[in-house]
Amino acid sequence: MVPITFWLGMAGGVQLLFVATSFLLPKIFNFRENLAKVSPLIRQIFIVHSIYITLVLMLFSSLSFFFAPELAGKSRLGHLLCCFIAFFWSLRVPIQLFYYDSKTKKEHPVENVAVTFALLFLASVYIIAAIGGRS
């Protein structure tokens, strides 16, 4: 049986793909044109938050590569961190399915399916690691 640490490493790779994709989002979703309509402070907050999220994905990815045994239960801190990451991705699945508007998703059907499966994979891996690490 493939150990959970292997799947955590795979999850780290998937999150790196999300990081790479995040550099394409401004062009795909016309950030420049859209953000020109709001006040400068709102524009700055939007950009800073998107940088934050990219940094957080880099953290999750690094932890999964370098601290997989800890996330899988070797350390108590790692285990709780794994629970937080599991909740993060579990929350992101219904947002993708029910919150983001269907019009945009229909315009990008392949990307939508790929992202949904990637989110389901990430949520599953971290949930399994979190449950396994409890024992």
Partner: protein
């Protein structure tokens, strides 16, 4: 006061500090009139803004909770705790740099409460950066 005692206190305060930032962050949509402002964005970008903001808050809660719950692991310099401390310190350091280099004072709403709030937030970002990065540097000295 020994460095151990100094970091002991600083870590408790850093954990609590994250929840202070959370308190300030929750006021942003109301104080900066997000309802009117975000209405100007496309539907997708508006939703993206809310999702980014929600997850950012979640991350701040995570940082605060882990610091308070695993205070002794951070203080002892457990490897995963140091890795996390390096990231949290870097996260707040970047926030500080963005505040000075990217956010413009002229763009902030006017009023004493905003000026005081801005100064308090920046002071807290400095304290968090120094605490977490200082902790990492302190433990690396022992290697």
């Amino acid at each position: 006061m020994s460095l151990t005692r100094a970091f002991d206190i600083a870590l408790w305060l850093a954990g609590i500090g994250h929840f202070c930032i959370l308190g300030a962050s929750l006021q942003i949509p109301f104080r900066f009139h997000w309802k009117d402002e975000l209405a100007k964005l496309s539907r997708f970008n508006r939703k993206l803004m809310w999702v980014y903001s929600g997850f950012t808050l979640y991350v701040i809660i995570t940082f605060g909770t882990l610091t308070l719950r695993f205070h002794s692991e951070f203080l002892r310099g457990e490897p995963i705790a140091l890795g996390l401390a390096l990231f949290i310190g870097g996260f707040w350091f970047i926030r500080l740099i963005l505040d000075f280099a990217y956010y413009k004072n002229a763009d902030w709403p006017k009023g004493v409460s905003f000026v005081v709030g801005h100064i308090l937030l920046d002071s807290l970002f400095v304290a968090l950066t120094v605490t977490y990065l200082g902790l990492v540097i302190w433990h690396l000295d022992f290697l």
